[in-house]
Amino acid sequence: MSMAAKPVLRIVTADVERSDEALMGAVATGDAEAFRVLVERHLAGVRRFCARATRADLADELTQETFTRLWQTRARWKPGTGFTALLYTVALNLCRNHARGQSRGLRAFFLVEKEGQPHAPAPDELLDAKEDTARLRRALESLPDAQREALLLQYAAGLDSSAVGEALGCNASTARSRVFHGLRRLRELLGETP
């Protein structure tokens, strides 16, 4: 029995240790297990990015679509490409597309608010947290697109400057500059003191 268990353990260990790029190479050939490992690794990051880049209530859908597109376009994967840059390019484009049609969504949001579905009042701390999140969202929305996207790719998605640049189609230095200006502006907008 112990002889039979060993190879299984080796396979699991090997999957955990494989790089994103190696896994994506396997995904390109139709390996659904490799795809699953990539989803496990990046699900939280992509959702966080989509939530910050659009709205929290759209994050799940955009995250799902990001991974669906990744699977659908797997055959186009080119070895040597950075995986996270590819993944977040897909997510970024979906968020941008959503932003173009946002006015209709906002109208629906206000419609629902107007209807006033009865609900129990939230505790003060929940309201504070909600307001805090809303303030951050408003501040992010008022940033220039280039700065907001660079900022979110670096901090919400956790990409380094090189991958941020790759996802945005600029070099790492430009990406870092956008993050710098975005962070300064965000601090000003939030009007907070140390």
Binding site: E40, A59, E61, L94, G105, F109, L111, L190
Partner: protein, 258 residues
Amino acid sequence: MTCPDEAQWTEFVVSRSEPALEQHLAACPACQATVAHLTRLTQRLASDDVGLESRLSVDAVVATALRPRRPVRALVAVAASLTVLAIGGLALQGRQPEMETMTARGEAPAWRARVTTRLVSTSAGLIEPGAVVPVTTRFTVASFGVLATDQLFTLAFVADSKGVVHWVAPTWLDERSVPTAAALGVDGGFRTNPEHVLSLDHSVAFDDLAPGPASLVTMVLDAPVSVLAVERAWQGDAAGLRARFGEALVRVVPVELR
């Protein structure tokens, strides 16, 4: 050493590559506070607390991604014609030749409006649940009833025997877009009579409907939810959709595609 300005500390937080600043930072409480504040800001951006908990799981994301889905290429044609017909009661009268009510119908919650939607075939006769429908059928969406002044939205799709979802409403051509439910009635100019409205703004035929058992699904909602949310909630019957979209009107009609 004079304290670096905020721009320098921002650069420091972004790149963390200034040994000289690190030395100053270790000895200067004022600058420590500035850096701590900037760091907190970046931590807020990296926080998973985005105001709404996720419903996603790895299993669900993988299963949905791997499920066959043909939203666009399946379209043989989208006729952009607009037809508005007044109808009497719940029976279609004065309708176009060969057009019959085919699928789902029902009433939206009373607090919103009374409205009925139907998936309509432009080639098949009146079809009840369990009926046989040609795979070459051209589908469209009809809606009628007493519409409120607020806007309603509709979604309609055919789920074939392979589990592939084929969208009738909305329809879209750009694969990169994430379409939402189509606006229904009121501000679309379809309202010919406060009691009876029929809207047919496009028709769709598919070239890859799998023969076999299929579901014809229509929904009426008060918000323009995206097709992705619906696809994720769709598990082969109305239960998943009703659980996910509590206020929505959902009708599922089983048919046989041949």
